[in-house]
Every structure is written in C-alpha cells, then in structure tokens.
C-alpha cells in the first residue's frame, strides 16, 4: 500500500500584483521505503511541493487538492498532526534551521522529548543523552561527545546537516522530505552526506522525497524521479530509466546541459531562453527544440509510455 497519495495538488500564491500558480494538479504516490526524487529548476514549484506536504506553506498561499492521504490520515483536514512526527523536513541551509542560541545537545533533546510525548514514553536526561550520542554516531559524526556541547556556529556545514539528520531520526518519521539538503555543501561533504541519507533510509525503511535541481545528485539516491517544470509534472519514471533514456524534451535538455566535455569538443546543448509564467498550452513549448503549432493548443495530458509518464504531444495527442 502506498504511504502517501497525492491527487491534483495545486498551490497558488497571492501577491499585490496578482496571483501566481506554483503547482498545477500534481498527482503521485509514494511507497514505503521508497526514495522519490523531485527534480526541477528554480520556479518549477519543487520547494512549494515540499512545503505543501509538510503543512508549512505561508498565508499567501492557497492549497487545493482532491486528496492527500498519508498513512491513512487525511492531511487536507489535519496536516499539523503529522508534522515532525510522521513527516520530517530537512532544509537546504542547516544553519538557519538550527537555533543559534541553543547547544546541539538541547536541540536534539527537544526532538527526543517531542517523540516521547507522542509515544507516551517517559523522558529522562540520561537516556536522552545516550540516545543523542547513538544518533550522532549513526550520522557518522566523529566526536559526538564534543559536538553535543557545541553551538551551531561552531560546527561546519556538513556537521550541521548531520545534526539535522540526527534530529530527524530522533523523531522516527515514516517520511523524510529533504529540500536540496546537499546544495550548500562542498563536493566531498556532499558525497558524505548523500551516503548517510542512503544508509539511514535503507536501515530504517523510511520513505524520502528528495528535492534537488541536480540530476546527477538525484541519480545517486533516488529510486524514482519526478521532473517538474512550471509547476507541472513533465515526466515520471524509474530514476535509472529516466536518466538513461529521457523522453520529455525538457528532461533531455537538462541532461544535455550538464557539461561532460571540453570546449574543444564543441558547444554544450543548452535549453534556449528562460522560464516565464503565463504560457499557453505546454508550459515548456517556448523553450522546446521540438515545439510545433499543436503544442500551443492546450496542456498535453500525462501519457503512459512503457511504464513512464510523459507530458508531451510527441507521445499522444490528448489535452487536459
């Protein structure tokens, strides 16, 4: 059974200059112990998706959906009930997620306390300390005793992100939503943190929604990938297949844009232009290398092609 089911999720932001649609009718399911990658560029709506699922959208946003069901709980009516306990979110910048005035120790204790309250366990300082040390070891912090006594600013970016993962684990969530968790880190640290994510998700049979703009990072950790563009799902499929043989022109362009050669070998294939709102028909058509008249007629339906979903009229001429 699916852990999370989302049907026709749309989010709109209101501002003084009118409203902008960040997500349009996004539907997907997530299985237990599955890692789902959400790949997209800025403005694709990927962060909005993360915020919507953890109930952290701000007041200027309106959420509409036919169904968001997580572990049998209807999130549309009571999203607060799962945040932090069933769903935990890890953000891009760990330093702004941690409280700068609290020692790491107390921040992890707080997470443990919340869990104890939820599960009706009793909380004791000594037990909590033991557990905190275990958690820090699990995220491969070399000197956990020392780190517990420190303040966030005394830690490196990689250590801060590990502490965030440790706090997530303290809550024992079923679903981890990670929004660009390695983007602010250096390459070597990024590889380390990615491998920690991979390990803990596998060991604890957690599900994860991993949001990133970097296809190469997504390929390291995801089972399945959703490609978002302009707030709409453009392609869904197994990570390996999508990356090896992309079907949507946008996915193709994204993969082609990654520089894997030298300048002597010629120009990079790039996607022309830039993202703009208010496009008629297929949102990607103004930048698409294969765009035709028909693309402007309407928004193409998500077509099923060999176990994959692709929103492009090259794979079926139905419109929504």
């Amino acid at each position: 059974m699916a852990l999370l089911e989302v049907e026709n999720l749309s989010v709109e932001y209101r501002s003084s200059s009118g409203s902008v649609r960040a997500l349009t009718k996004v539907s997907f399911t997530l299985d237990e112990a599955e890692v789902l990658g959400v790949v997209g560029e800025s403005g694709s709506g990927k962060s909005t998706l993360a915020l919507a699922l953890s109930g952290l959208l701000d007041h200027s946003a309106t959420l509409r959906a036919d169904k968001i069901v997580f572990m049998g709980i209807d999130l549309l009516s009571n999203i607060e009930s799962v945040r932090g306990t069933g769903v935990f979110m890890v953000f891009q910048d760990p330093f702004s997620s941690l409280n700068p005035l609290m020692k790491i120790k107390h921040q992890i204790f707080e997470a443990i306390k919340v869990r104890c309250k939820r599960l009706g366990e009793s909380f004791s300082q000594e037990e909590a300390k033991k557990e905190a040390l275990e958690l820090l070891k699990e995220v491969r912090i070399a000197d956990p005793e020392d780190v517990l006594e420190r303040y966030p600013h005394q830690l490196s970016g990689g250590q801060q992100q590990r502490v965030m993962i440790a706090m997530a684990l303290a809550e024992r969530p079923k679903l981890l939503i990670a929004d660009e968790p390695t983007t602010a880190l250096d390459v070597i640290t990024q590889a380390q943190v990615l491998s920690i994510f991979k390990e803990v998700v596998k060991r604890r049979r957690m599900s994860m929604i991993f949001i990133t703009h970097d296809l190469a990072v997504a390929s390291q950790i995801c089972d399945r990938i959703i490609v978002l563009y302009g707030g709409m799902i453009q392609e869904v499929g197994l990570a390996e297949e999508v990356l090896k043989e992309p079907k949507h022109p946008y996915t193709m362009g994204l993969i082609g844009s990654i520089p894997y050669k030298s300048k002597e070998e010629g120009a990079l294939t790039s996607i022309k232009g830039f993202f703009s709102h208010g496009v008629e028909g297929c949102v990607f058509s103004p930048r698409c290398a294969f765009a035709r008249e028909e693309c402007k007629k309407g928004v193409p339906k998500l077509n099923r092609v060999n176990g994959r979903l692709v929103r492009c009229i090259n794979y079926g001429k139905d419109y929504e």
Binding site: E41, S42, R140, A142, S156, G158, Q159, D186, V187, I188, T189, Q190, A191, Q192, L194, S195, H213, D214, L215, A216, V217, S219, Q220, L243, K244, G253, L254, I255, G256, S257, I258, P259, Y260, K261, S262, K263, A267, L268, T269, S270, I271, K272, F274, F275, R287
Partner: protein, 321 residues
Amino acid sequence: MNEQFLVVKDVVKSFTVGKRSLLERILRKKVQTFNAVDHVSLSANKGETVAIVGESGSGKTTLGRLIVGLEKPDAGDILVDGKRVEYIAQRPENRGRLQMVFQDPSSSLDPYMSVEECVSEPIAKSALKKEEIKQKVVEALRLTGLDSSVLKRRTRELSGGQKQRVAIARAIVSDPQLIVLDEPTSALDVSIQAQILNLLVELQKLKRFTYVLITHDVKVARYLADSIAVMYLGKLVEHGPVKEVLSQPLHPYTQALIEAAPKIGAHSQVSVEGEPPSFLRLPKGCRYEPRCKFAMEVCKTQYPPETFVKNRRVWCYLYSA
C-alpha cells in the same frame, strides 16, 4: 617557452583573526594571522583559461581577488602582460583592463540601475563621447546575447541568466585583458549554466580574453579551462593541463575531489572521510595528510616540495622520488 601572459609568483596573502581588545593591544599581544593564500605560483597564456578549483576555504576566491587587484598581496608578485597588477590597477588609463564576474548577479548588480547605466559604468569616466559609450554598451550587450531593448530596464527585472549576461557585458565593455570569473554559473540553473558557458567560450574565441575561472565544480572547469590548479587550504596541490589532471589525477586530494563529484549513471564514492581542518590548527606537514589514505611518516613533518611529473606540478611525497 614564450612569455606568459599571467604570472603569479610566490604570492602570500594573510588575514588576521578576530579583533584584539584594548587590553590585548596595550599588552602588545600578537595578532593571530593565517595565510589564506600561501606561496602560490601559477601562470597562463594569453587567450587561455586557467581554472582554480577547490572547496570553500581553500583560498581560491582570495587568489582571484588578488589577481584583479582587489586585494594586495603580502608577498610575491602578480604580473599581467609583464606589468604588476598594482601598477595596472592604479593607472586611470588602465581602468577596466582587469575585470571580475561574480557568482551571484543579483547581488553584484545594483537593482535600481538600468542595464545601460550598469554596463556603461566601467567606461563612464573615460575620454569617450556619450554616443561612443552608448555604442560600446550596445555592442557588449549584443555580444552577450541581449538586444538593446533591455537598455532601459532595471537589472532587478531580469531573470538570473539575463542578469549574468549583463554582468558579463559589464566586464567586457572596457576591453579587458583578463577576466576573473568567480563561480560564474553556480547561482544559475543547469539549463542556463550551459548557455552562459557557451557564451564565455564564444567570447574568448572572438576576443582572446584570458580567463581565470574560480570554481568548485570539476565539470565546469573541464569545459572551460585549458589548465587547472587545485587548491587545498591556501596551497596548490596540483597544477597542469586540464585534460591530464582530470583524467589522471596525481594528488590524492585531486583524486578525492573528482571521485566525489556525482555523475549520472555511476555511483560516486565517499572518497574521504572528515572535513578540512581550520586554518588556525593547520597540520605541520602536508595539509591534506590527516585525511589522506596514502599518508606516510614524512608527510607529517614537512610540506612536500614541488615535484614535476611530465608537464604537471604536484606537491606530494608520493611523487617526489
């Protein structure tokens, strides 16, 4: 070998740590300093790109700022076309000969300025007439793929990719000899990154600009650079032609850096554990020794000497015979 266009000779730049309190100043307590750039030498030919690659805190940006004269070196020389950078930077007639493009165009461009004001700024004080300046601005914008309809727009109204194009136009409008590109694409989306990289290569072919590319991304360096210098904690660890260094890295740190970069279709390895030490607690010998899997006794005592392996320089006892 003919004369190199850019020569960085044994450059040192140190920064002080924190501030001394009044009492500490009265007691003449010594200021703690560290070398962000520590005896670095490199060179590049005209019309070529040298990439400086490293992680945050490696000193790569400081080196870039030294090369355009935004910082003064504490020791050593930086020569561009045979002239010292401080000399070039001081002379009004040389204004704009050295240029820099920064990582984040949203913060390097004034959001309230129009594109025209922004791009013309480097040549506004020159002896050129108004029409000539305008002509140059339009030409620079054309070269960067923007048409003159953007002239009157404010830079904050533009998209990220367009802003970076304006930043590049601003850098090339003064006919520079050398441009330091500090992470020119890392704030941009992948699809826009490819556009900007293509643009930079086209401009270099057309105008024979010499680029100093500062990046943490090995892929960007591979595409844009002719030679590559890898920095770790203020020191060079390896320097050589980009193809050779990236296909067959010699220094263990270069190897780790390349292995850690995620690639589609191949699982990257955790190449090294741990993180670089602080500048204030540097190891006595090789700075990479505490994390290096090949570390030997000798690595702990002294920084390895410069060793030539074919046309490459590497600082590692594995190669110093």
